[in-house]
């Protein structure tokens, strides 16, 4: 178990560091973490499917600025790992992902608190004109964030695997089914959060239009987005025409 726990821990560390020091390429998401965990545990295909399913659940989980609704990285790493190790598939990952995301998020808060003395030390180096000192403080943060991903994942896998397996096997089927159908409703929260971020009264018709295009015409997301792009371009031309009339 040691080797697997270390490898999955490293994947979680990588997932956190993606948004910290690699430019935020959106690699710290279930769709990427799932297949990576699958790869190290010798079941890429299950990792791929579980990651994709988790991604659809977490698609709207908002992590804008300082606020967040959960550590998606740790949740997907542990969820996928237990799904593979217990041979129970996506249902297990979905059941575990939400509580783990909420718990691991507190660890993320801790990392952000641990980092605070770094900037005070950097202040001191700055007033001495010590460039290397400032750089060193920044890089210590990288280690803190790596551990933020690695430690919870590694610990849970080392402690949890037999315990988790026993727990999962003992759960009645109706509960697993129920948890799964509940989890499949969760994207609605993500979409509501996105709506809250983007919507204004004037823009409500666009949400409805997107819904109708998919519900009645069965268009896929890319098709709907491209139509949206055309509408946005056309509207921006009307905006310009309005302004020109006003300035004349």
């Amino acid at each position: 178990m040691w080797l697997e726990a270390i490898l999955v821990g490293i994947i979680a560390g990588f997932g956190i560091l993606d948004s910290r020091i690699l430019g935020d390429n959106m690699f710290g998401r279930p769709i990427i973490i799932g297949p990576l965990v699958g790869l190290v545990l010798g079941d890429f295909q299950t990792g791929l499917v579980v990651g994709g399913t988790l991604e659809l659940i977490f698609i709207g989980a908002v992590q804008v600025g300082a606020s967040s609704t959960g550590d998606v990285v740790t949740a997907s790493a542990l969820g996928t790992a237990f799904a593979i190790l217990s041979h129970q598939g996506a249902a297990v990952a979905l059941t575990l992902a939400v509580p783990v995301a909420l718990l691991a998020d507190r660890v993320g808060d801790l990392a952000r608190i641990v980092n605070t003395p770094l900037i005070h030390k950097a202040d001191r180096y700055a007033s001495e004109g010590n460039i290397a000192g400032v750089e060193r403080m920044h890089k210590i943060g990288f280690v803190v964030f790596f551990l933020n991903g690695f430690l919870p994942t590694f610990t849970m896998l080392m402690l949890g695997s037999p315990f988790m397996n026993a727990l999962i096997q003992s759960l009645p089927q109706w509960l697993l089914d129920g948890l799964l159908s509940g989890a499949l409703l969760l994207p609605s929260i993500g979409f509501a959060l996105l709506l809250q971020m983007m919507i204004s009264m004037k823009l409500v018709p666009f949400f409805i239009l997107g819904f109708l295009l998919a519900a009645y015409l069965k268009l896929d997301i890319l098709g709907v987005a491209l139509i949206g792009l055309v509408i946005a371009l056309v509207l921006s031309q009307y905006d310009r025409a309005d302004e020109e009339r006003m300035t004349v």
């Binding site: 935020d24 390429n25 959106m26 998401r29 769709i31 890429f44 499917v49 994709g52 991604e55 659809l56 698609i59 709207g60 804008v64 600025g65 909420l102 608190i113 980092n115 605070t116 900037i119 700055a126 001495e128 004109g129 400032v134 750089e135 403080m137 920044h138 210590i140 943060g141 990288f142 109706w174 089914d177 129920g178 159908s181 509940g182 989890a183 499949l184 409703l185 609605s188 929260i189 979409f191 509501a192 709506l195 983007m198 823009l203 949400f207 409805i208 239009l209 819904f211 295009l213 998919a214 519900a215 268009l219 997301i221 890319l222 709907v224 987005a225 949206g228 792009l229 371009l233 921006s236």
Partner: protein, 272 residues
């Protein structure tokens, strides 16, 4: 203080800033957020422009002030800041306070644009397309996901630092005067909202197996609902959650637990 013209910024420094900008959030903390990452990214420029300890110290302190924006947009602000630092190193009468004023003025609007574009639009579309493929076992979805998000990402990052530097302050006053930033945000919101509408119709799996006996005929409730409006239940659910979140200020965790409980009860009672 010596101010020779030789110390000018070239492509080499800008690329160095670009690579360092990837680590913007590497030491994120609650007090000053991305400040240390910003200072770290600017170091190649500061090294090139300033010689004396006093100058370096003043510049480092300047960039250790509070900073936070959408990470993908950071390099544009760094480009603008580089242009201003260069001016500061050349002109005695330049007021260095204006550098932080410009940074502060840019980080808010760009955070809004960046979150709308990258978080709200590109990520959502990339994940929706990618995950709908991988969840069915097709690894091609990974490529869709990675490239749909990261081609625009790196385009904006690289163009950001180069154009930000070239245009400097000039672009900024123009953009805010002509309302360009608002227009861009509005356009991104339209595309994003339509995608969210489409996802509401297709990705919330909410249908009911309930059926009734009516004058000897079996009537399935889901079939009736589909005739009224396909995906009616997912739409209603999403709107209810939006209402609870927006008007009632219900916390996300309660909504999560509530929906899971609803799912279990629904399965046991038989309406799900």
């Amino acid at each position: 203080m010596s101010h020779d013209v030789e110390k000018s910024i070239g492509k080499k420094e800008l690329w160095k800033v670009f690579f360092r900008s990837l680590t913007l959030q590497g030491s994120w903390n609650f007090e000053r957020m991305q400040a240390l990452g910003f200072a770290y990214s600017m170091i190649p420029v500061l090294k090139k422009l300033y010689r004396t300890k006093e100058e370096v110290a003043a510049a480092l302190k300047r960039h250790l002030e509070f900073f936070n924006t959408a990470p993908w947009m950071g390099s544009f602000i760094m480009g603008v800041t580089t242009a201003m630092e260069e001016q500061n190193a050349r002109e005695k009468e330049f007021n260095p306070d204006s550098i932080n004023a410009v940074k502060a003025g840019l980080m808010g609007p760009l955070a809004g644009i960046g979150d709308t574009f990258f978080w709200g639009t590109f990520r959502v579309i990339a994940a929706a397309i990618g995950a709908s493929l991988t969840s069915k076992g097709s690894a091609v979805g990974l490529l869709f996901y990675i490239f749909l998000f990261n081609i625009p990402h790196y385009f904006v990052r690289i163009a950001g630092i180069m154009k930000g530097y070239q245009a400097g302050i000039k672009f900024l006053s123009n953009a805010s005067q002509s309302g360009l930033t608002q227009k861009i945000t509005k356009g991104a919101s339209i595309v994003g909202l339509m995608a969210v509408g489409a996802m509401t119709a297709t990705m919330v799996e909410f249908h009911t197996p309930l059926a009734f006996e009516f004058t000897g005929n079996k009537i399935e409730l889901q079939g009736v609902l589909d005739k009224i409006l396909p995906s009616l239940l997912p739409l209603l659910l999403t709107l209810i959650v939006f209402y609870l979140l927006n008007k009632k200020q219900v916390k996300v965790i309660y909504l999560l637990l509530g929906l899971i409980t609803f799912g279990v009860i629904g399965k046991v009672v038989g309406f799900l």
